[in-house]
Amino acid sequence: MRYFWAAFFMFWPIVAIVFFAISPAMNWWFPGAGDPDSLTKGQSMTPLGVDIDNLFYLILIITSVVFVLTHIALGYVLFRGARDEGKKALFSHGSHALEVMWTIVPTGILIFISLYQLDVWRKFRVISSFPEAAVEAPVAEVTARQFEWRIRYPAPGKKLQLKPQPDDLYTVNDLHVPTNRPVMIQLRSEDVQHSFFAPHLRVKQDAVPGQVIPIWFEVTQAGHYPLTCAELCGWGHYKMKARIVAEPQSQFGKYLHDLQHEQNDDGVQDKKSDDAEDE
Amino acid sequence: MKHSKLYSLLVMSALLLGFASGCGGGASDVPTITVKPAEKEAAPSADDTPVGDDTPSNGGSKDGFGTFEGRVVIQGTASPRPALVLKGKAARDPAVCAATANIPDESLLVSEDDGLANVFIYLKKAPKNGKDSLGIEAEQALELDQKGCIFKPHAMVVRTGEVIIVRNSDPKPHNIKTKPALGQPFEATLNQGQTGELVFDRSEPVPVGAECNYHTWMRAYQLPLDHPYGVVTKADGSFTIPNLPVGTHQFVIWHERSTRPLFTRFTVKIKSDGEVVEETIEVEAAKLTDVGGARTKTIKLSLNR
């Protein structure tokens, strides 16, 4: 078994590439990729998310090329070493040129990546770069707590205030946003660190107790998207799931009105309108 | 060491087997369901007469009624109970409650000749050939008054379905709350002068405590029965139960200072019509100071929330 170690060290990178190739089919890739029935089919549902995906692919390509090249080199070296067994090895004191090269080139690549992504980062994270439309009219305040998401909407027609207002609308685990419009939410935490993670929208932001953190996104396609917690927050972290319902503005307005009507239910108003509904 | 290859093989297989033991998913949690029909099949029904505590005694006329009377006395000395609320120190409404005097603890009332008051003596179930009324009940409707921030009377026996008029005779609001073991609970909040109607729908195995949530020291006991054979001893510990049918009866004797009934089967035999059975029932003082302590686990949670 002369070539055992060469084969061994070439085997695992090949396994990695195979796993990579089958990952959409196994649902290990972007949510919905590889599933023809899914709503998103692996695409991001926000324009910024598309930018993030493009960044991801860029880095993937760069690192894949490097990965393949270095492993070919490794494999060749191992193979040669195995084939020429018994041959005397070259005793090297190092190569200055080589060391300079393999410092400068990766540095260059990384600097390129870090500069290239600055724009996307700015768009997502720098508050002064948030779209005007989002900042003017935040949709809701989302408070993470063990183990649910509590949501406070301003009354229809009013602006969300930092201090809760008497006519604010409250709900749990059910965040509605209008589509095709940049929306902003204010993220808070009631107890420990959580993380607002909407995978289909490529949005992730830690919720830090004591801070109010704005997050913006624009959903292009109506639908129900899961909202999960991405920061281990306790025994219920795994089931801290909510839903984001993206719907056209008219439906969103109707939702808020219905919520307001339900929240002002005094037990009598619906009876008056001959509704069979109890309570 | 020797046999290292064999050894490492053993270890690997042991570990693999160990990991594999996690396979097979979680415990099969799918339950098995059987169905029990709503009504019993028409089986020969058990004896319909209430399983009373009495058996007809041999020898002696089967008809007729006797009387069971006597006194409940305390054996030994019971240390007097401290006042429930000291004068002027009521946690709530001090202008009305304990304004001019302490509110005494009525849970242990011993007369000068060691008679024990407020002891419940009753039959669990209606006896065979029992009467519907003993002839000693009060004429007017029963009342439970909240005056001076205490309940009056402290102990009473009522019939199921009988209305007790709860009255608030204090200038401050009171609340009355009962938590019977078997029947429906009752609760009402009463302003000055308001009344409520307390009705027990089922007979209870032991007396039910009534409390006030505003004045948490207030306590009174009512025992609902579906027959009239239940009395409360008077201030001197005396009691009388007339019109007790001939036979053997087993009385329950209960006092609020003992978690368990003092007697569950106090046997009284009426052998013939007109017989009077007189008993002096002695209760050890030690039994009356033990109210079980913390038999229910009190969960002490942090009050800082």
């Binding site: 008497p166 037990g267 109890d278 | 033991s21 369901i33 169905v35 569950t264 913390a294 229910t296």
Partner: protein
């Protein structure tokens, strides 16, 4: 050395196999049940197990008003040659009910299981030789027949949702005939059990006793359903909650506590959980009531005393000649135990009927608290009137400023189980936990924040807590009473927004607006 290595190897191997142990869930019994004298206690437990079962082997008692989930079907094909069968073809959807032509309605009245797993469910025959149960005699008690045939598997046809092959766990000898109708009962109970185990059990416990493994870390503790008391219901205090109440609690959670929202459950999952919780509550209450009737006579200490005195009486009777045999302690014990056990079936019958009546759907729906008048408009005058009522009625517990720091937190309550004062001052609920009057300045309303929810809390109080009912207290006229209750509700809504001089909220403007100085209300 070799021995040591082998020893280590064995231990490692054994440790890895620990995962193979799968302990079974069981219901726990009340402390009072355990305190009964053994012979009586075991009969009570036996009856309880027979009437409700265990988590793994549950009994769907049709007397209880629970929707266990039913599928109606009939046999379409049976292997004619076999003398006994385990499986046969069936079609679901009742043929008795007339098709109304309305697809939705038909689907509701005669649902088909579709892809559902029917393993373990009971099958009751409605016609044919097996009508009324099963001819396989298993578990007859007191003349009651229990259906003991269970489904092993159900495989639906590819195209047709309604037809497929039904396999049973037990052999049917002889086989059923084509056209025999049956019902498969219990899918909601079974599904509810599995969902409850996944979502609820770790806090609320297998028996619904609020003592699951995570419960000890929570304040307030998870609800113990067994007394049948639910705090936030829309019905009168003497009634049980409606299904709608339970649904609201499960989907909205309870803010300010550890009860999370389960909004994302499917409708059928939610319904199954609700039925299962009701079932657990009924089981718990049934046990409590059975034991209440027997406890004061048959608790161990009392029972021993009773045996002593009965022995004395028995010896007297023996001397009188009224008793034939000389009684011994053992024979007296047996006599007394026999009395209890003879009483038990009647007691059980009585209590189960009372329980079934208490949970009756129509009764609950008619007991819902509905205000007589619509909410008074939320004006400053209304709030002022509410403030007056608040000071008179509420401030003693909830405090002058609504922070829950009224003078009652210094009062000593008495535990109604032991009739002894609690060692610490403050309020306690019926489950023995310390409880504070709600801090109304936070704007957290546990039972729901709709006006009708607050109205119900004030009107009827909160079950199991010292919060009293105020119905009829503001005025003898019911309509005026309700109008004044609305004034109070308007004021309560306003409390979090009142400025009260020097409070944390005021310093916010000085030090910049951070989350810390603006309390989040939910």
């Amino acid at each position: 050395m070799r021995v040591l290595q082998l020893l280590i190897l064995t231990l490692v191997f054994a440790a890895c196999l620990l995962g193979c142990n799968r302990p079974e869930s069981t219901f726990v019994y009340n402390t009072k049940t355990e305190e009964l004298t053994r012979d009586v206690g075991s009969v009570v437990k036996e009856r309880l197990d027979g009437d409700f079962g265990s988590p793994k082997n549950s009994v769907a008692w049709l007397r209880m008003p629970i929707d266990y989930g039913t599928f109606k079907g009939e046999v379409v094909e049976v292997d004619k040659d076999a003398s006994s069968v385990y499986q046969f073809r069936v079609a679901f959807g009742s043929n008795d009910d007339k098709e109304t032509g309305d697809e939705e309605e038909d689907a509701e009245t005669s649902p088909t299981p579709g892809e559902m797993n029917l393993a373990g469910l009971a099958i009751i025959w409605k016609s044919g030789d097996y009508e009324g149960g099963s001819q396989i005699d298993g578990g007859k008690r007191d003349g009651e027949k229990m259906a003991t045939l269970q489904v092993a598997a159900w495989s639906k046809d590819e195209e047709n949702d309604e037809e497929g092959v039904l396999s049973l766990r037990q052999k049917m000898d002889p086989p059923p005939s084509v056209g025999d109708t049956f019902e498969i009962v219990g899918h909601k109970l079974s599904f509810g059990r599995q969902l409850y185990a996944a979502h609820c059990q770790h806090c609320h416990g297998t028996s619904g006793d609020g003592a699951g493994p995570t419960a000890e870390y929570l304040n307030p503790r998870p609800r113990d359903y067994r007394p049948g008391k639910f705090k936030f219901q829309s019905t009168l205090k003497t009634n049980r909650p409606t299904d709608g109440d339970l649904q609201r609690i499960i989907t909205k959670g309870i803010p300010g506590t550890y009860m999370p929202s389960f909004l994302l459950l499917e409708d059928d999952e939610l319904d199954s959980i609700i039925q299962y919780v009701k079932w657990l509550s009924m089981r718990g209450e049934y046990e409590i009531k059975l034991v209440s009737q027997l406890y004061f006579d048959y608790e161990q200490v009392v029972f021993d005393e009773a045996v002593e005195s009965a022995l004395k009486d028995g010896l007297e009777e023996f001397e009188d000649g009224t008793r034939d045999e000389e009684p011994t302690k053992g024979s007296i014990r047996d006599e007394l135990v026999a009395t209890a056990n003879a009483d038990l079936p009647d007691i059980a019958e009585q209590e189960s009927n009372v329980l079934a009546d208490a949970w009756n759907k129509e009764k609950l729906e008619s007991a819902v608290v509905v205000p007589l008048v619509a909410r008074t408009p939320d004006t400053a005058e209304s709030r002022a009137r509410g403030r007056v009522l608040y000071v008179q009625n509420c401030s003693a517990c909830h405090g002058a400023t609504g922070r829950g720091d009224g003078e009652q937190v210094n009062a000593y309550m008495v535990n109604d189980q032991t009739r002894e004062k609690y060692p610490v001052p403050g309020l306690f609920d019926d489950w023995g936990q310390s409880i504070k009057p709600r801090n109304l300045t936070r704007g957290i309303y546990r039972g729901g924040r709709r006006p009708v929810d607050l109205f119900r809390r004030v009107f009827e109080g909160i079950n199991g807590t010292p919060m009293p009912p105020f119905k009829g207290k503001f005025n003898n006229d019911k309509k005026i009473n309700d109008a004044r209750t609305w004034d109070l509700v308007n004021y309560i809504y306003h409390i979090p927004f009142e400025t009260r001089g020097k409070s944390a909220g005021d310093s916010a403007t000085k030090h910049g607006r951070t989350a810390a100085s603006t309390p989040s209300t939910r």
